[in-house]
């Protein structure tokens, strides 16, 4: 997989402005709490894993910080190219959509939620480029071919519809679609969740490589601690809507401090 040089390591200097800052974020659904008082910063080049069992508030948090769901209270600030660090929900609808289109990516667990199933694989990857205002079809086709190659898809199938690809291939098309426009922050919701374990490993390696090379920030939600260990630099552990522990991935997994994290780690089956 590793074919060319990674860019010079980017975590050398202490980044001063986070790409995303969440402050005291709370989301309630009537009497039910989605997530409560969540605060963290994420910097470029970092992969942050959000782990916890189902119902712990992972997806609520992900939807709020990706600008899709307005929080009940608290702030989500994104370091936009245009305005610097700005509260996502104070932006105009047009600016927020532009931000989501140009600077963010969102990889869904189910590729069918993130792909247009009625247009070709190539068109799925080229569409974000058109959204950026690109109009030169030859160039866009070349970029699309480059990205489909990066995710190890057979480019002879560029004009096939996503429905004719396997689940693992669909997921790779979705990943290409979410990286092609050069986003600065990509959200991933259980990106390898529905995949065969044999495909998972290859996909994880590819993701890791692409992230390292392009210096983007990634927030990945997963309930799979093995995926978290291989992909994330640091972890946020959630339970019942609260963040119970944060830290460097191997510190959280090797020496968990909170009772819930200890339970989570000790419950993993060894093969």
């Amino acid at each position: 997989m590793i074919t060319d040089t990674l860019d010079a390591p980017k975590l050398d200097v202490v980044p001063d402005t986070p790409i995303l800052r969440t402050t005291q974020l709370t989301k309630t659904y009537g009497a039910i709490t989605g997530c409560r008082n969540v605060s963290f910063d994420i910097f470029s080049g970092e992969v942050v894993g959000i782990v916890g069992e189902s119902g712990s508030g992972k997806s609520t948090l992900l939807n709020c910080i990706s600008g899709q769901l307005a929080p009940t209270s608290g702030n989500v600030e994104f370091n936009t190219k245009k305005y610097g660090l700005t509260d996502m929900f104070n932006l105009s609808e047009a600016d927020r959509r532009r931000l989501q289109r140009e600077e963010l990516g969102f990889v869904h667990q189910n590729p069918r939620d993130g792909l247009r199933m009625r247009v070709s694989a190539g068109a799925n990857v080229a569409e974000p480029l058109m959204n950026l205002g690109r109009r030169h079809y030859g160039d866009m086709r070349q970029d699309t071919i480059d990205w489909l190659t990066q995710v190890e898809l057979d480019i002879r199938r560029i004009d096939d519809n996503p429905r004719n690809f396997s689940g693992g291939m669909q997921q790779r098309i979705q990943i290409a679609r979410n990286l092609v426009h050069g986003p600065r922050l990509v959200f991933m919701d259980e990106p390898t969740g529905g995949l065969d374990v044999s495909v998972q490993a290859r996909l994880l390696d590819m993701l890791r490589y692409l992230v390292r090379r392009s210096n983007l920030a990634v927030i990945v939600v997963t309930h799979d601690l093995a995926v978290a260990r291989l992909l994330a630099d640091r972890l946020i552990v959630m339970k019942n809507g609260d963040v119970v522990e944060t830290g460097l991935t191997d510190q959280v997994l090797d020496d968990p401090q909170h009772a819930y994290t200890q339970l989570l780690v000790s419950a993993v089956l060894q093969i």
Partner: protein
């Protein structure tokens, strides 16, 4: 470079609290201080369970000490591992602080060659040099060339161990933590690893190691450190 202090462990204390076992409190060590200079290989001694690996992991930052500090010289400055923010700790691990464990834990289905090249690429070495460097070290560790394009999952214990060693010694780390790197190796391969350690020592690398093999221990150690002297006891 020589005689410069590279690792400063001060008044380190570690205990574990197991919340799901009735909040069991397991004390490991307390008031532990250890300084290691460039070109030194300090071998930890003490019976099994005394906290040798716990000390190593506290220095690497995957265990969170209960008290005290662990400072490592990174890019000329002493940085406290216990308080460094995650991105700085990752930077320290990428460039300064290497760890050879007994177990190879990597993404499955990745070829041995790619696995050994990976830390080099992450250090900014270009692909061609990384490939050369990786070949050189795999050659030195006598891992059969036919294995290089295979993922190590099906390798023997000793072969996996050598892939692990190759990954860590491909980079000239200033500080190396060796947790039984020779555990599952035969005599000839043990010799090769000793050569690598001696070469790193000559270069001025500061090392802390755990070796159960007495022959290896006596050859590589520049001094011994008895961890049991700092054993913590359950408060009465």
């Amino acid at each position: 470079m020589s005689n410069q202090v590279m690792i400063e462990v001060e008044n380190l204390e570690k205990h574990f609290t197991l919340h799901n076992a009735g909040d069991a409190h397991i004390p490991v060590f307390t008031n532990l201080s250890l300084h290691v200079n460039a070109g030194e290989c300090v071998v930890l001694s003490g019976v099994s369970g005394v906290g040798k690996s716990t000390l190593m992991r506290s220095i690497y930052g995957n265990y969170l000490p209960t008290g005290g500090s662990v400072r490592v010289r990174h890019k000329g400055e002493m940085v406290d591992i216990t308080t460094a923010p995650p991105f700085q700790l990752l930077d320290i691990r990428r460039h300064t602080l290497g760890y050879v464990s007994q177990f190879l834990r990597v993404i499955p289905r990745i070829s041995t060659m790619d696995l050994v090249m990976q830390p080099l690429l992450e250090n900014g070495v270009d692909a061609e040099d990384a490939g050369e460097r990786a070949s050189e070290i795999l050659e030195l560790l006598q891992l059969p060339r036919a294995h290089w394009d295979l993922p190590p999952a099906t390798f023997s214990g000793g072969e996996q161990q050598r892939v692990n060693i190759a990954r860590s010694f491909a980079i000239d780390f200033d500080v190396l933590l060796l947790d039984e790197p020779t555990a599952s190796l035969d005599a000839a391969n043990r010799e090769r690893v000793i050569k690598l350690i001696e070469r790193a020592l000559a270069r001025g690398t500061a090392m802390i190691g755990i070796f159960h093999d007495e022959d290896v221990r006596n050859v590589v150690a520049t001094r011994f450190f008895e961890v049991s002297k700092f054993a913590a006891h359950e408060p009465a």
